[in-house]
């Protein structure tokens, strides 16, 4: 039987998705269901003077209206989802979001009241009849202005808009700087974007007063923590609450908040009213109220010797937390750690200040701050290469970690609270493969000059990156062989399109010797499995996948034990294949897994003490620390010198995520990530005005890349197994988007090298690039 692991298996879930049969949260319809809509703040910063829902309550279709005052003791700020890691000298001020704003509003879109009515239309109608009086306060929008002494305070009790300060150091930066041949110093900016999953958020809650069970369908990436948290808040046993994250229309990070206000208020109201309630976000709400990507400003320095070897890096940056810092410091710590990249950096001194602003909350979005670190480091290397008159690939070659330097401890703390230690890697072959595939030498020697002679501006970008993936704490899985011989697999992580129904099935299918489509996967239903944390940080395949492997292995052992007794052959004379356990030397002698499952669950007779019934096992996996994936992106662009429009002519990714479970799925993840990265680099930017008002809160104004903008990416795999899990896998979910901005900046700069444009910011846009081009021409 051929192995499923590593094969481009068609996905088990696709038939349901392609025929319209897959259930998403907004597809849930329950008898007697009511619909919720939220009144949201139109001010970025203000004091609530009065909120009066009396007129709304009078409306015939309205069943209830709730404000913060109506929530009573249930009103409380949300939990701190990710406490800061143990870093010496760290300061952190906690300010978490609230279910409905009370006293103050702190960003546009913050919910103030919930209307429950007989239809979504009626609920939305009623919003405008709620009387609301808000005294506007001066909004805090700009990161640097937020820290000035005269800045208004967003959280008065904290007494500063600085949410946190973290400094991490290794080696001696001052000494490195003193001995450097050159020190490159620049200011870099990376602005906000939206996750923009095509499905918005949604919550349906239903309280069954007979069974005293609360069922919640939620577009969350983390159903188990949501269940446990809600049970605690609502005074229910965890077993009374079932959270189902069914098919989810894209996650990309923001669907893992805990809690969004709507997740807190809708279940509470469903219990109070004794009727099911549905809330579905519209696109405009999504722009204001779904958490966003991160703005950062870096002042960074790179010290190099005359040969281009890195002596040290100093980086001081500001990170925009938005109005609350519920997700702790995950994003800026990712930036801080990922800056070190694939390189040997003897001295590093990095400090950041996280800043409260009157903007939507910032939590991880695909890449989760890693792209900022990569952008800063790769740009510094480009600038250093230019100053030294050195080839930009060569400066990277000279600084890459070598295979014998792994595991490599960078001596600073990563987001998972463990020391930033790379498990394995083989960086130079990936770089050389990308150089070859993009045609680096040919492009620079022939293609670029030829195009230049025609008046065309073409440029090449080539950058490296690492992606910290597969972090703990743990996930679990339960594998059950049914008497039919079909296999059930349940795990706690939610799924948002990553193909878990297939990749997890592949892992189990190989261990049990069954077909991939005989493994039926349930993810994201706390009734099916209630231990685990969620889908984030590119950890599904690594952590949950390893748990699937462990559970399947335990089932395999049980099957062998039962089969050995039934066939009178020792374990080592047996093998699992084609849905049966058979005698290796005599394949005609076999007993089906279904039959073994039946025998393992007898209706009468005696079993030996200690015997567990059924062919079933549950297992868990928790890695010591994350595994580090890596790769190289290279692209060729052409810039129209008149319009500053950029077309991507070629895009190559050489990628190492350890062992590949399903190349089809991995390539889809990378291609999709690159599209997200291209959006980030050139199309997408959340533009806030000085009043904290988002100026482009629709898909007409906020541009996602389309099929016309994203090229087919040429993808090559290098497999350096991770020693940290039995499968040897590393995560891949964010790889496509992490270095895209850095590669794009280098390529555009290369194309415009005659004009001397320096790209120190992402996102660009045609108009921003036009301005930069004209500024450079004007000054040159």
């Amino acid at each position: 039987m051929t192995r499923a692991f590593g094969a481009p298996i068609r996905r088990n879930e696709d038939a349901r998705l392609l025929t319209g049969g897959a259930r998403f949260v907004d597809d849930v319809h329950l008898p007697g269901m009511l619909h919720a809509a939220f009144l949201r703040s139109e001010y970025a910063h203000g004091r609530i003077v009065r909120i009066d829902p009396a007129a709304a309550r009078e409306r015939p279709d309205v069943v209830a209206v709730f404000t913060a005052a109506d929530l009573g003791d249930y009103w409380r700020p949300g939990p701190l989802l990710v406490p800061p890691p143990p870093i010496e000298g760290l300061t952190f001020h906690e300010a978490t979001q609230v279910p409905l704003a009370k006293e103050k509003v702190r960003h546009v879109g913050e919910p103030l009241a919930m209307v429950v009515a007989t239809s979504r239309y009626a609920a939305e109608d009623a919003l405008s009849t709620i009387e609301l009086e808000v005294d506007p306060l001066e909004p805090v929008v700009d990161l640097e202005a937020a820290l000035r002494p005269e800045a208004p305070l967003i959280h008065e009790a904290i007494g500063t808009n600085a949410a946190a300060h973290v400094r991490q150091r290794k080696g001696d930066w001052e000494a490195a700087k003193a001995t450097a041949h050159r020190v490159i110093r620049r200011r870099f900016r990376y602005d906000r974007g939206a996750s923009a999953s095509i499905e918005g958020r949604a919550v349906v809650a239903s309280w069954d007063s007979g069974s005293r069970d609360l069922t919640i369908w939620d577009t969350t990436q983390a159903p188990i923590p949501i269940r446990n948290g809600l049970a605690g808040m609502l005074g229910l046993l965890e077993s009374q609450v079932r959270v189902i994250a069914p098919f989810i229309g894209g996650g990309f990070g923001p669907k893992i908040m805990m809690f969004y206000p709507e997740e807190v208020v809708v279940p509470w109201a469903a219990m109070r009213l004794g009727r099911p309630i549905k809330w579905t976000e519209d696109r405009q709400e999504s722009f204001y109220a779904t958490t966003q990507e991160r703005g950062q400003i870096h002042d960074a320095e790179l010290a190099v010797d005359a040969d281009g070897r890195i002596l040290g890096v100093r980086d001081v940056f500001l990170h925009d937390s938005g109005a609350y810092d519920t997700y702790g410091l995950t994003v800026p710590i990712n930036s801080q750690c990922t800056l070190l990249g694939c390189y040997r950096v003897p001295a590093y001194d990095s400090e950041f200040t996280a800043v409260f602003t009157n903007k939507t909350l910032v939590t991880p979005v695909r890449g989760a701050g890693r792209q900022h670190g990569v952008f800063v480091m790769e740009r510094l290397l480009d600038l250093a290469a230019r100053e030294l008159g050195m080839d930009r690939v060569e400066i990277r070659r000279r600084n890459l970690l070598e295979p014998d330097e792994f595991p490599h401890n960078h001596e600073i703390i990563f987001q998972d609270s463990a020391p930033l230690t790379y498990d394995s890697g083989n960086y130079l072959p990936a770089l050389e493969e990308a150089v070859r595939r993009i045609g680096y030498d040919h492009f620079l020697a022939e293609e670029q000059p030829r195009l230049a002679a025609e008046g065309r501006r073409a440029g090449l970008g080539i950058v490296t990156y690492v992606e910290g993936t597969g972090i703990g704490p743990y996930e679990g899985a339960r594998v059950t062989v049914e008497p039919s011989g079909q296999v059930r697999l349940a795990t706690g992580v939610g799924t948002q399109g990553q193909g878990h129904f297939t990749s997890f099935a592949q892992i189990v299918a190989d261990v049990l010797g069954v077909a991939v489509d005989a493994v039926h996967v349930t993810t994201g239903d706390t009734q099916a499995f209630h231990w685990g944390t969620g889908t984030f940080a590119s950890r599904g395949a690594v952590v949950a996948g390893s748990a699937c492997h462990a559970a399947a292995t335990a089932v395999r052992d049980k099957a062998l034990t039962h089969a050995a007794a039934a066939l009178g052959v020792p374990h080592d004379g047996l093998e699992l294949a084609d849905g049966a356990v058979r005698v290796a030397a005599e394949p005609g002698r076999a007993i089906g897994l279904g039959e073994l499952a039946r025998r393992a669950n007898p209706l009468r007779g005696a079993v030996r003490p200690g015997t567990e019934p059924g062919l079933e096992a549950t297992a868990y996996f928790g890695p010591d620390r994350g595994s580090t994936a890596s790769g190289v992106h290279a692209m060729i662009v052409e810039v129209d010198p008149e319009t500053a429009m950029v077309a991507i002519r070629k895009y190559v990714v050489v990628h190492d995520c350890g062992r590949v479970i399903n190349p089809l799925i991995v390539e889809g993840q990378i291609q999709g990530g690159v599209a997200h990265g291209i959006g980030n680099a050139f199309y997408e930017q959340l533009v806030f005005d000085d009043g904290g008002q988002l100026q482009n809160a629709s898909f007409m104004d906020y541009l996602l890349p389309t099929a016309d903008d994203v090229p087919a990416v040429e993808i090559a795999h290098i497999e350096t197994p991770s020693p940290l899990n039995p499968l040897g896998v590393k995560g891949v979910g964010e790889a496509g988007c992490i270095p895209t901005g850095a590669a794009f900046a280098q390529a555009v700069e290369d194309a415009l090298r005659d004009d001397g444009v320096e790209i120190l910011e992402i996102p660009l846009s045609p108009s921003r690039l036009f301005d930069l081009l004209h500024a450079a021409r004007g000054s040159g």
Binding site: A196, Q669, Q671, G672
Partner: protein, 160 residues
């Protein structure tokens, strides 16, 4: 609020009559009145294309139409593509083979745009395919495998 209105519409070959608010969107009518939840709603302002259905054979955005505008017309949704339960339309089959979907939320709308597209462009170039897809937003796939799927479906269609 205006008085409710009668809507008679044939959806996937089945005639329906309902009395609805005149402002009810066709997308909400299909999803919540007829329980045809395969048509998805991504932006409700006509950009993302997830809600695309066929009205009298033409691809339209059901979030930009009122249900009452479909009165007397023939609507096809993604549920109406496969020839029989448990089977796939050749276009759906091609999407499965070429990994043309990830989360699958935008997919039904894309399929509905491609049905008339492939009828009108039996031998599309990649540029044709990309132009046809450019009215749809997909956040997961980066489009490449969708283009592959459409090319595959077109090749098979041409071979039969």
């Amino acid at each position: 609020m205006s008085a409710p209105v009668e809507v008679s519409v044939t959806v996937n070959g089945i005639p329906w009559a309902r009395t609805v608010e005149p402002r009810l969107l066709l997308s909400d009518f299909l999803r919540h009145e007829l329980s045809l939840t395969g048509t998805h709603v991504g932006c409700e302002h006509g950009v993302c294309g997830a809600c695309t259905v066929l009205v009298d054979g033409e691809a339209v955005r059901s979030c930009l139409l009122f249900a009452v505008q479909a009165d007397g017309h023939v609507v096809t949704t993604v549920e109406g593509l496969a020839p029989a339960p448990g089977t796939l339309h050749p276009l759906q089959e091609a999407f499965r083979e070429a990994h043309g979907l990830q989360c699958g939320f935008c997919t039904p709308g894309i399929l509905m745009t491609l049905i008339p597209f492939l009828a009108e462009h039996p031998r599309p170039t990649d540029a044709d395919i990309r132009a046809a897809l450019s009215g749809h937003l997909c956040r997961c796939t980066g489009y490449r495998h969708i283009v592959d799927a459409v090319r595959l479906a077109a090749e098979r269609q041409a071979a039969t």
